[in-house]
Symmetry: C2
Subunit: 342 residues, 2 copies
């Protein structure tokens, strides 16, 4: 394989100086049409491609965006990663991906590694609460979905979205509800819970009282399954008629527990999730949930990162309620079964 052609080769071929070649390449500076023409044909004749490394060294700026997620095998993060990659591509940037495996140390190490590689900026979906962290970085850093350090956050409006779920379940007649919360050391976990709880409490004042109980777990399948199993192992009259989970994975775990205990969803129990991962539409029954607009979130995060100067304020995006088969009207105990409304 012969060596790749450089600006110098192009310059010689076109009979101009390397500076002129560079100016044509950048497209910014004014170059006489004739020279521009010559340079462009030299470029295609030689098959020249700019050396990104040299450019980066000179300008100390690259077109690589670093993304750190807690766990790429988590479907929601995978979707987020896909969206960020697409958003980066739209802005002609590439993506460097790292997974922190939910390890705070690995997260920090990846930040440093990205900095060493002088990325254009870093987007991090934090693992747990790192709000104590006060990090200086020579490039913009944006938190996505979960706050990282003190950096601006782009996320779904968790509280608003959780209230949508509360409205939905209340509207279906549920007055005995269990909430499976996410880890209280995550902002997303706290905000979803608070949004849900405060809406339910408001109903308590303006309408019928709701018995609400809250259990905390991780965002994963296992937590949802375990907590739901506990909840549902009680005698029927002590069971909630609806379980709202802080994540789809928890909700899917809860569906599994319900099935194992032969509790019919949605006729005896309604279950809701949060995220709308692709699996939510594939489980039986299909899961009522909150759709997080991953593409939009990603585009905002990349936008903030690439702005000049980089965005500094938080951005919230509304989630939307997706009603599917896992929720239904409360069954009146010891009474006539309520009609399904559709």
């Amino acid at each position: 394989m012969s060596k790749m052609p450089t600006v110098k080769d192009v310059a010689e071929y076109a009979g101009v100086s390397v500076g002129t070649v560079s100016r044509v390449l950048s497209g910014e500076a004014a170059v006489k049409p004739m020279l521009r023409e010559k340079v462009n044909s030299a470029i295609s004749a030689l098959g020249y491609r700019p050396n990104v490394t040299a450019r980066a060294l000179r300008t100390s700026r690259t077109d690589v965006i670093g993304l750190i997620v807690p766990d790429i095998t988590n479907p929601f993060f995978a979707q987020l990663a896909a969206s960020v990659e697409r958003a980066a591509l739209e802005r002609r940037h590439s993506l460097m991906l790292a997974s922190s495996h939910n390890d705070r140390g690995a997260e920090r190490a990846h930040v440093s590694a990205f900095l060493d590689r002088s990325v254009r900026g870093i987007i991090v979906v934090a693992t747990g609460d790192s709000s104590g962290l006060h990090l200086e970085a020579p490039v913009p850093v944006i938190s996505l979905d979960r706050r990282f350090g003190t950096f601006p956050l782009v996320s779904t409006n968790h509280a608003q979205a959780a209230a949508l779920i509360a409205d939905h379940l209340y509207g279906l007649g549920h007055r005995r509800i269990a909430y499976i919360a996410g880890p209280p050391d995550t902002e997303a976990g706290r905000m979803r819970k608070e949004g849900f709880v405060s809406r339910i409490n408001r109903f308590g004042k303006t309408g019928e009282a709701v018995q609400l109980e809250i259990a905390y777990g991780k965002f994963d399948y296992e937590s949802g399954e375990r907590i739901a199993r506990d909840l549902l192992s009680r005698p029927p009259q002590d069971r909630p008629t609806a379980i709202a989970a802080a994540s789809d994975q928890q909700a899917i775990g809860a569906l599994r527990a319900a099935r194992d205990l032969k509790i019919d969803v949605p006729r005896k129990l309604s279950v809701t999730g949060f995220d709308d991962i692709s699996l939510a539409n594939l489980v039986v029954p299909r899961l009522t949930t909150i759709r997080q607009p991953a593409d939009l979130l990603a585009r905002r995060a990349v936008g903030l990162l690439l702005e000049e100067p980089p965005g500094t304020g938080d951005e919230m995006v509304d989630g939307s309620l997706i009603v599917r088969g896992s929720t239904g009207p409360r069954v009146q105990p010891k009474a006539v079964i309520a009609e399904h409304t559709n």
Copy 2:
């Protein structure tokens, strides 16, 4: 933020030349202990971190591995990506990720983009069959799981693994089996099918004959669901007693179709998958499948890439059968129900 210190700063601080600093950094060349000591303390005093870009420009080599997958939201590829990232990290390399969205053009574009960024090497999980492609690359390229161009392939021994499934179903007494194949334009799709079919055919010669029918689909949920629905909509005596799918996603789609049609798995129908994605262990019933050793595959691929000279031969890794609840003994039609063996 003050400028980052450079080798020059370190050299001045330590009272040596930049060459010596560089030699200490590389660890290769012999440097007098006393100077080495001085340099090291200068490095920590100044908080010096080497500029990777400059190093890359000089040596035209980086420590970034490019990975292209067809779709990061596919759980199996997500798992593979996580494994590759881990394997890369073990060898002190970072990962640049791109998703081709099953688009051959995007795949090629990503290869070029990686080449432009002078990655150390590229691992690609090809989308569809690209064996026609004869690409020259200035860095090593390895195919993972699915052949890309003519580059060496690291993959599960699909045929061997598929035969494991055939053995399992035959051993359970199934004599009427449907195989949901993957796209015939993928090597994985073809090899899994051939491994399965040839083992079944062998049974036909040495033991009882097996009625086998084959349907082709994509590797996704929808294909599995649709094909299974067709298969299972027939009158009971015309239905297969076992469905073997070429992917877990297809198998999960098939489970869904069976549930919709109220066909009990595994009592009336056995279903098997391939991949052992994490979901396989969470569906109801849990899925009998083939585990692809993602970590091992990833480590081999990275190993081949980083070898000097880069590995050039294919590598096959055996898959293993994971028996779970979705398979059981064939029910004798119009006869006594066979006892479960465990």
